[in-house]
């Protein structure tokens, strides 16, 4: 646990100094909302379209952080450092998942109010969106950390991460959009199958956290 907290603390400290992940993600999200606003030529979105725009924007923005999450470990020797220490290497996977989850939740705190400003009549739906977005952030972080580990070991990491991540994130996108869609309906939030989709998101999170934790040590072994 000490190793997990050490790696997480180190990553957050470096991010606070350099803003290499959060700032590009926030900027990207804002830009995509502007593009959707003009491309759809609509001032208000609702239901499935609103959920789709929000979830896919967050997914693509997350790629920026996911691509970067292991770069310092690869280029500055973090993988060697952990293998020289008695710390369980899987702690690095958990720390990276936690760091990505924090980045994505912070992104959501910036991007969702912007989304409401661009596309919603009121902020009434936002509280019900919170559990959906937190579970989606954890799922994206877990699958992102797993895929980023595989991609980092390859010379084609910039290509490999999105190619592997996007298909694997389809169940998460379906569940998150499924839960968010009734919440964003016109005339106030609805909760049809809301709980079911939240359970699917939770299951997705558990599965990818468990897979990543189990295989991370093997992925590090050259």
């Amino acid at each position: 646990m000490s190793g997990l907290l050490a790696i997480l603390g180190k990553d957050l400290r470096i991010e606070l100094r350099a803003w290499r992940s959060l700032a590009p993600m926030a900027l990207f999200s804002a830009t995509v909302f502007v593009i959707f606003r003009f491309a759809l030529d609509r001032e208000r979105l609702e239901g499935g379209i609103a959920a789709g725009v929000l979830v896919t924007t967050l997914l693509f923005a997350s790629l920026l952080a996911i691509n970067r999450i292991f770069i310092s470990e690869r280029e500055e020797g973090g993988f060697d450092l952990i293998r020289l220490s008695p710390c369980d290497p899987s702690m690095m996977f958990l720390a990276k998942t936690a760091a990505l989850t924090i980045y994505l939740i912070l992104l959501e705190l910036i991007a969702v109010p912007l989304f409401a400003l661009f596309f919603l009549d009121s902020a009434e739906a936002l509280p019900a969106l919170a559990p959906v977005l937190v579970l989606a952030a954890l799922g994206l972080a877990a699958v992102g950390a797993l895929i980023s580990t595989i991609a980092t070991m390859s010379s084609a990491r910039d290509l490999l991460a999105p190619l592997l991540l996007l298909p694997l994130s389809i169940p998460l996108v379906i569940a998150a959009a499924g839960a968010a869609s009734p919440v964003l309906e016109a005339g106030g939030p609805g909760f049809e199958r809301y709980g079911t989709w939240l359970a699917v998101l939770g299951l997705y999170d558990v599965i990818f956290c468990a897979i990543g934790f189990a295989v991370f040590d093997y992925l590090l072994d050259e």
Partner: protein, 217 residues
């Protein structure tokens, strides 16, 4: 192939810290390390000599548990490599061509991070003492990216010995260093009783501090 455990070694002489038997590493079709045989007693220093590309760094990474050998057997600190690599985690200090330091963290933060990974007690006192030994107090709060190559190497040396390892694996540790820095690092690296494997191009200096030499290439 299996090598005898340390406890099986008979006689009054110190038990070997390293036993290498036909240890070899290939990278695809290209040989990275020719077959190597050596036995190093605990507390001894092994000098690894050879031209560029002879496999010095490959051998050192295998001994540190960072690379798997392709053939042969190795016993490091009584652990069979690579099957029991987990046993030597935390017992080897490694200084390679890369300093293994985060550029956006200060020298002190890097050492504190390494100390937490190793679960060290009294880390602050150890870090303070090492920073003093390496004459790094004045630059301890500077980010590594702001340090010269020589200062970075000194921080990396502190990182390598911070957890007081039983085996120190040093790959050209004196590269980028002036004479004063060399003397300081030699003092840091030379704790009695510690086994050392050192690779370098500086034959005369290495021969003067080693108990045996291994010539590659």
């Amino acid at each position: 192939m299996s090598l005898p455990a340390q406890s099986d070694t008979a006689g009054g002489s110190p038990a070997p810290a390293l036993i290498l038997d036909g240890l070899r590493r290939d990278f695809g079709d290209r040989p990275g390390l020719p077959p190597v045989d050596a036995t190093v007693a605990a507390g001894e220093t092994l000098a690894v000599l050879g031209p560029n590309g002879s496999g010095k760094s490959t051998l050192l990474r295998i001994l540190a548990g960072l690379l798997r050998p392709s053939h042969g057997a190795a016993r490091v600190l009584d652990a069979e490599i690579p099957k029991e690599t987990w046993k030597i985690r935390g017992r080897v200090g490694y200084l390679g061509h890369e300093p293994l330091l985060y550029r956006d963290l200060s020298a002190r933060e890097n050492l504190a991070f390494a100390a937490r990974l190793h679960g060290l007690d009294d880390a602050e006192a150890k870090i303070e003492r090492l920073l003093g030994d390496a004459a790094l107090e004045a630059v301890a709060e500077r980010r590594v990216i702001e340090l010269s190559a020589g200062l970075t190497q000194r921080v990396a040396a502190c990182r390598a010995v911070l957890h007081d390892p039983d085996l120190l694996v040093l790959d050209e540790p004196e590269a980028n260093l002036d004479d004063e820095s060399r003397e300081r690092l030699e003092k840091i690296f030379s704790r009695s009783g510690r086994t050392r494997v050192i690779a370098s191009h500086d034959r005369d200096r290495l021969r003067s501090i080693s108990d045996q030499t291994l010539e590659l290439g």
